[in-house]
Amino acid sequence: MRPLPRSLRGLTVVFLALFLTVTALAGFGTFFATASMVRVLVDERIESESETLVPRGTTPNRAELSQHIMEMARQRDTGDLGVLLSDAHGNPIVGNVRLNRELPLGYSTLGRQDRIAGLSAGRVLVREIGGGMRLAIFAETEPVDNYFAARRRIYFAGFGAIVLVVLWGLLAFRRLVGKRIDAVRHTAESIIEGDLAQRVPMPGDGGEFDQQAGAFNRMLDRIGQLMGEIRNVSNDISHEMRTPLARLRNELALLEQSAAAEPVRERVAMARMQADELLGMFAAMLRIAEIEDGSRRAGFRRFDLAELATEIVEMVQPVAQERGQRVLMERADEAKLVGDRQLLSQLLVNMLENAVRHTPSGTRIRVSVAREAEAVVLVVTDDGPGIPASQREHVMRRFGRVERAGQAGGQGGGHGLGLPLMEAIVRLHRGTLALEDAGPGLRIVARLPV
């Protein structure tokens, strides 16, 4: 068993239970302690009165004592202090109190059942004082009538108010802490979903939560800065390598044009195409970087994705036909959305070219644009060999390619940046891209919120 619960809720429950127990115990304790303190004080008082009346070790004269008691009874308020002198048989001789029972020697507690006028709770001391006489001194333990009941009410009201205040405070505290934790979690989740610009809101009061939010935000800034630096380095490398590579490529292209002999020209053309592939790889990296930086959102316009998809299907159709494949526009709901038309064209071209390049002759490629409540769902499905579930995550990564027996990298392999580019485009539109099993074949689903 754990000594303490770890959750805020568990801790609150345990704290509340402890608090209530301790408060109740303290209440009862105080209640009974004060009651017994009052009894001790009253006992001391009646003993001292009794001693004053008949000092210990003396045998009083009956007539004198009776006289004395009568005077005292006349002077004193009967509710405050009572005196009763009785004989050996319990018959009263003199006093201001009448009893309905015989009292034992020593101290006893009196209550309402004793029917003593003006006394609801009290104490009595009964002494043998010689000569067969007994002296009883009475005193109230309640300064006013029904004092105990009133005290009980005061205790319940007082402690009840404390409990309520603490309960309210605890709930308010829990709400405050919960809200702050939610804010941090919310920010973290937005960042996980790719919105790196999110920051924890700052209450602005300079308190612990403010400081924590500040530290968290500074950490995010630092991470962003580090990511930016890494991106800059890879962008710089791409830029720097592109220039000499482009020069090489241009030399090869010029050579290709001027080469007189066909075999030489073939070889030069091969070299030029390889340089083109490399340039394409760098271009794709830089393009992904540009998309990820998000500035293209400034150029978003409203248009119909279904119309665009129909156009791109028409565009890719001849390539598919030459490879013995068929591309069908299966569904085209009107799908107006706000986005980058050029990038979404690129997305569609990539989705379709992907299907065309990675499937054999005879494959059917189906395209659908469906309008849902809060998103436009673009799906390209083929009935080709598909991608095993174990490799789907891998191919989404940069330079990740499908490893398939009997298929070399070159033809149809691509540079492994197609899917990351598609994902970057979809993410720029705050959507999601998923690879699914079409059994048989592959289904690429781009879900774009509207």
């Binding site: 220039t243 044009q257 195409m273 394409g280 271009a283 794709a284 001849p318």
Partner: protein, 235 residues
């Protein structure tokens, strides 16, 4: 089927090249020189502006990122002074917004760095030709025995009407506008689909093959493939 494009009629253009990177400036001057253009290289905007005031140029190749006077300022200044010659701007990859800004400021075309001289040459030729032909607007465009009517969406070859799909029509029109000149694949993609994107399959070539099949019904093949570059429609 293939034809070395040096066999075509060549335009010799007076080109002003504004580029601050001396290495690239030298390379582009030399490479455009291969195409028999006369290139005047300058390193900054002020110098370019004073040169433009003194002598005529057929076209300007303008780097967008210049140290003292940037490309957009120079271009606005030029257009403000009534200079209407075509301007082709050079932009860095990943600067889409610059590209948009440039086209809005009055640039006629753009090439993304690193610059492919063949692509640059093809685009410069196309720009200058377009300027010259718009001076005499005509309803039909002719290239060899092919006649195209853009307004009526009709095509004839040797007097026979051809039934082309919309894409085939746009493709033929794109080639015919620069008949006798190389039109590169990126240029074709832009002209047919109105925007540029990267392709990993031979989309343009497949459309050309479809078009060729229809054109061959009424004669020989009027389209020549230029290796590593694009296509030429016989003028």
């Amino acid at each position: 089927m293939e034809r070395n494009f040096t066999g075509h009629v060549r335009m010799s253009l007076q080109i002003l090249l504004v580029e601050d990177d001396s290495h690239l400036r030298r390379q582009l001057t030399e490479q455009l020189g291969h195409f028999e253009h006369e290139v005047q290289p300058v390193g900054d905007g002020q110098e370019a502006l004073s040169l433009l005031g003194r002598r005529p140029f057929d076209a300007v190749v303008l780097d967008w990122m210049l140290p003292t006077m940037d490309g957009v300022t120079l271009l606005r200044e030029m257009r403000g002074q009534g200079m209407t010659m075509p301007v082709l701007m050079l932009t860095a990859l990943g600067q889409t917004l610059d590209k948009v800004e440039g086209l809005e400021a009055g640039a006629d075309d753009y090439v993304v760095k690193p610059v492919d001289p063949l692509e640059l040459n093809a685009r410069l030729n196309a720009l200058v030709r377009a300027r010259r032909t718009t001076e005499q607007p005509s309803d039909t465009i002719a290239a060899g025995d092919i006649v195209i009517s853009p307004s009526r969406l009709m095509v004839w070859r040797g007097g026979q009407p051809l039934a082309l799909s919309q894409t085939e029509f746009r493709l033929l029109l794109a080639l015919a506008r620069d008949a006798g000149e190389v039109v590169t694949r990126p240029m074709l993609i832009e002209r047919i689909w109105g925007q540029d994107f990267e392709t990993t399959t031979n989309i343009v070539d497949a459309h050309i093959r479809q078009l060729r099949v229809k054109l061959l019904q009424h004669g020989d093949d009027p389209i020549a493939t230029v290796r590593g570059m694009g296509y030429v429609l016989r003028a």
